[in-house]
Symmetry: C2
Subunit: 110 residues, 2 copies
Amino acid sequence: MGLTKTEFFTESQNKTAMLLKALGHPARVAIVEHLLKVKTCVCGDIVNELPLAQPTVSQHLKELKIAGIIKGSVEGTSVCYCLDEKAFESLSAYFTNVLTDLQNQNSTCC
Amino acid sequence: MGLTKTEFFTESQNKTAMLLKALGHPARVAIVEHLLKVKTCVCGDIVNELPLAQPTVSQHLKELKIAGIIKGSVEGTSVCYCLDEKAFESLSAYFTNVLTDLQNQNSTCC
DNA sequence: ATCGTTAATCGTAATATTGCAATCAAACGA
DNA sequence: TCGTTTGATTGCAATATTACGATTAACGAT
């Protein structure tokens, strides 16, 4: 059906999945890595950095913004983007916890 | 077109996106969290833990396996699943690095 | 006012994903 | 052998995603 049954999962699981899904595309990973590399907010040059047409990039930026991964503020005629630290704090903590739990479980089966 | 232009991104970006995409669904997050919770390899009871039909679960497990997030080994008539530590080491390191870089960049714009 | 620039939105085509009923295949036990 | 159990595969319908041309909206400069 193409429709995810979100109502059967926990709030937390849905939120985690939403963040990860937003990052689950190479163009959006590239956007994040670019925002990280330039070390400051970027006003406008994101389209030039990606091998995709402007409407496509705009759409990816929108998805990242909806998921809470980037913030964007209008700056005259262009728009200023940067990463939202909260999202990465949350993801970093999530995977650190998973890894810790995993290392503590000492299973020998697989 | 529905077709991701992977050829224009780096190997690393594609690999990261693939891992994150595989985790970008609440059912697959739930599978991971279940495998973590039971503290050992799980042979078979995953279908009963999820509010989804057996073929659907089987498909999600397949995607997680292809992405390298879980391992599965046949154990007689049932199949034994567990998490692949390497994937979580990689993801944990990735987000820790992003967060560190982000905290060092001290941007005041947004 | 008009033009150029920047970025969002609309519309659409191609493809992917999600979910499940039905079916199949392999392994086990009686 | 035959039935049962377990899990994968097939086939399909509904919906989502990806990508982009065309258009639009907002701003600044001339």
